[in-house]
């Protein structure tokens, strides 16, 4: 028997999409029955009360949560978010309901052994409710009390070899796409690099270091499945600088509409019939730089004019492959809207090698130069993208020691208001007015 009536939420149980309400109700019932005899360390009816307070929000059209200043476990400045409900008498089971961020593995691969150990811990010491996963990428454990936080951390670190993720003005938990582990498009091993960066910068991840949050996201190719270009202060997007590899026989299989060579890897196998595949129209015609030709059953690509948008490769993955000389582009400054409006990542490093053998030296150098500048110059709660806007892209190039190149811009400036520095102008700014007056009357 449910503890609270939830007539509004109950209406979200029908329909085909997995119902979080049904899941929460089933979980509430499991906790009530407690067939495994778990010695729950937070109230056993916490999920009932979570449903109850959510129903109240559905009734009121308003949230019933307050923020709390809890930050983390001892010595950490992030990883835990404090939450309290504003109706503790009616819903004592969620009076204190803090979140813990657990650093997800690269590529979000799991063994069931690991997941079961985690769920066992979370049933014992928390609500048993999670997000798989949060927006940063972490496993989110949703709802426990303050005394449990250190205990959970102790079990995570001592028994599971598992650390927390970041929050606050820390490096946020870096996140990646699955990369080369299962994707032929990936230009570098995102899993290995995200694992390296996360470990290399543990201090920055756990303890405040910056004016505000800082996010790394790693995409294996320009398809950008983890949206790094839109939501990370520093985005690493795989690319290549030699030629797209072409298998001409396979190209012709696509042209012949061979069943084993479906266009776009089968992405259009559905209820709509788009007709037979047309190479001219669907690949050559849509190529943004029109750098491809198909003559005498032979596809040729003017690679010097290719911008590596991935379209042709996405359409014909059996015929076209990314180049061999791979690395990544680094873009900086993306962020969600507050305060100056949303920003997309801007290209800082067109190409850099991704080399695990020297600990990604070329990449960490860029990271640390950018951090030193931002830590020194960034105002409180100013994201990197906003600092770049305030001090200028030139300043960013200066602090990173990167030479300006046309790849940095969509087009050159449309105003001539160049603020020349004194040392850039021959002879400097100090001039002798008397000498001038010898030739120019007052």
């Amino acid at each position: 028997m449910a503890k609270h009536e939830t007539p509004l939420l109950d209406q979200l149980e029908s329909g085909p999409w997995p119902s979080f309400v049904s899941d929460l109700k089933a979980q509430a019932e499991r906790r009530a029955k407690n067939e495994e005899g778990i010695e729950f360390q937070i109230p056993s009816d916490t999920v009932d009360d979570l449903l109850g307070i959510l129903e109240l929000s559905f009734k009121h059209g308003r949230t019933h949560w307050k923020h709390g200043g809890i930050v983390g476990v001892f010595g950490y400045g992030g990883g835990v978010i404090g939450r309290y409900c504003d109706q503790p008498q009616a819903f004592p089971g969620v009076e204190h309901f803090h979140t813990m961020r657990v650093n997800q593995p690269a590529g979000k691969y799991y063994t069931t052994d690991y997941l079961r150990t985690l769920t066992k811990l979370w049933d014992f010491r928390g609500s048993g409710i999670t997000n798989m996963h949060g927006a940063t990428g972490d496993i989110i454990l949703l709802g426990t009390t303050t005394p449990q936080i250190e205990e959970i951390f102790h079990t995570l670190t001592h028994d599971m070899g598992q650390d927390l993720g970041g929050s606050g003005s820390n490096l946020r938990t870096p996140a990646d796409c699955l990369g080369q582990s299962r994707c032929e498009y990936s230009c570098y091993d995102t899993n290995a690099m995200v694992y390296f960066l996360t470990n290399e910068y543990q201090d920055e991840l756990h303890r405040p270091a910056f004016p505000y949050k800082f996010k790394f996201k790693l995409d294996g190719c320009p398809n950008c499945c983890v949206a790094s270009i839109a939501r990370s202060d520093m985005s690493f997007i795989g690319t290549w600088r030699d030629d797209i590899r072409v298998d001409q026989d396979a190209v012709n299989k696509y042209v012949e509409n061979d069943a084993a060579y479906p266009a776009n890897a089968g992405a259009f196998r559905g209820s709509k019939d788009w007709g037979p595949f047309d190479l001219e129209k669907e690949v050559l015609g849509l190529c943004p730089t029109k750098c491809m030709k198909f003559e005498n059953q032979k596809l040729s690509i003017d690679n010097a004019n290719c911008t590596r948008c991935m379209h042709c490769i996405n359409v014909m993955p059996r015929a076209l492959k990314i180049g061999k000389e791979t690395g990544c582009s680094i873009l900086v400054g993306a962020k969600a809207p507050i305060l100056d409006g949303a920003q997309m990542g801007s290209l800082l490093v067109p190409f850099v090698e991704v080399n695990p053998d020297n600990d990604y030296e070329a990449i960490t150098e860029v990271i640390e130069n950018v951090w030193d500048w931002w830590m020194e110059e960034g105002k409180n709660r100013e994201r990197l993208g906003e600092l770049i806007m305030r001090q200028g892209f030139q300043k960013l190039l200066e602090v990173t020691g990167i030479k300006a190149q046309p790849q940095h811009v969509q087009y050159p400036r449309t105003n001539p208001y160049i603020f020349w520095k004194e040392d850039e102008v021959e002879g400097g700014w100090e001039r002798d007015v008397e000498e001038y007056r010898k030739h120019h009357q007052r």
Partner: protein, 85 residues
């Protein structure tokens, strides 16, 4: 690193004095506020020393979720946890 930042005892004294001087108006500070206490040092070094003071239970963190601030341990009306201790 400056002599002040390098000397744990003196650095702590300087930080505590700075926070106590300001304690009438507010009790929580950004990392950047400590740059003034150590004008000759790099932010990266200051961060390391100040974070050590949290481990030594002289300071504590306070988080808005998106930013983390520092205060003297137990200071102020908004503690890190509400009515749980």
């Amino acid at each position: 690193m400056s002599d002040l930042l390098d000397n744990t005892e003196e650095a702590t004294k300087a930080v505590v004095a700075f926070l106590e001087k300001k304690s009438k108006s507010k009790t929580k500070f950004y990392l950047k506020d400590f740059y003034k206490v150590f004008p000759d040092d790099k932010p990266r070094m200051i961060k390391k020393v100040v974070n050590k003071m949290v481990e030594r239970e002289i300071l504590e963190y306070w988080s808005s979720g998106s930013t983390t601030m520092y205060g003297l341990k137990g200071a102020g009306i908004q503690h890190s946890s509400e009515g749980e201790e």
